[in-house]
Amino acid sequence: MVELIVTILLVVVVLFLAAGVFFMLAGAIGLLRLPDFYTRLHATGKCDTLGEVLIIFGLLLYHIYYYSPGAELSVQLVPVKLLFLICFIFFANPTATHAIMKAAYNTGVKPWKKGDRRM
């Protein structure tokens, strides 16, 4: 019974890691392929945030399984700090994206229209 629970937990961890890597790869391909600055940030700002949060959550589950009994208190408190890191990424990453995009808009970077040359 315990082995079954451990196996299910590890499978869930692997699924979280795979989903996170998928989103990060999609964001990177969007950063390469899309035609102008605003669309590139549109791709990376959301995909990267979700991918990183998924990967860190998977590692948090793995930490709870692997270090749960008999570790020091500083090691046992790592999942709480990982939750803080997840909250921080959820706030900070879209804020940074918004700041760069607003700076570009205020200094006159033109959005791409259909038929323009790809920048």
Binding site: V21, L25, L31, F37, T44, L59, Y62, K81, L82, A104
Partner: protein, 94 residues
């Protein structure tokens, strides 16, 4: 000891993150304007956070995670300062 299966999975995840960092580095190199470069550098920084956490679990030192927390703060502040500098021409508004 860490199980070999989970070690393989963590190594594969870290390798794929490095691949995405290389793709973003290509965008930071070719450009074409300064804003694309800043955005690509910001993306590289946020990917490095996850890479540091995974490295901590590969080497079985989960307290490596503190370095990634510090790196997240530095990356965020640096990106905000760069955006303000590009927008106004100065970091502090007088």
């Amino acid at each position: 000891m860490i199980e070999p299966d989970m070690l393989t999975i963590f190594l594969a995840t870290a390798l794929l993150i490095v691949v995405t960092i290389i793709l973003a580095l290509y965008r930071a190199t070719i450009g074409p304007e300064v804003y694309n470069r800043v955005a690509a550098v910001n993306v590289i920084g946020t990917k490095t956070i996850v890479l540091l956490v995974i490295i901590g679990y590969i080497f079985e030192r989960p307290l490596f995670f503190d370095i990634s927390l510090l790196y997240a703060l530095l990356n965020f502040i640096g990106t905000l300062a760069f955006a303000k500098y590009l927008e106004r021409g100065e970091v502090w508004s007088s």
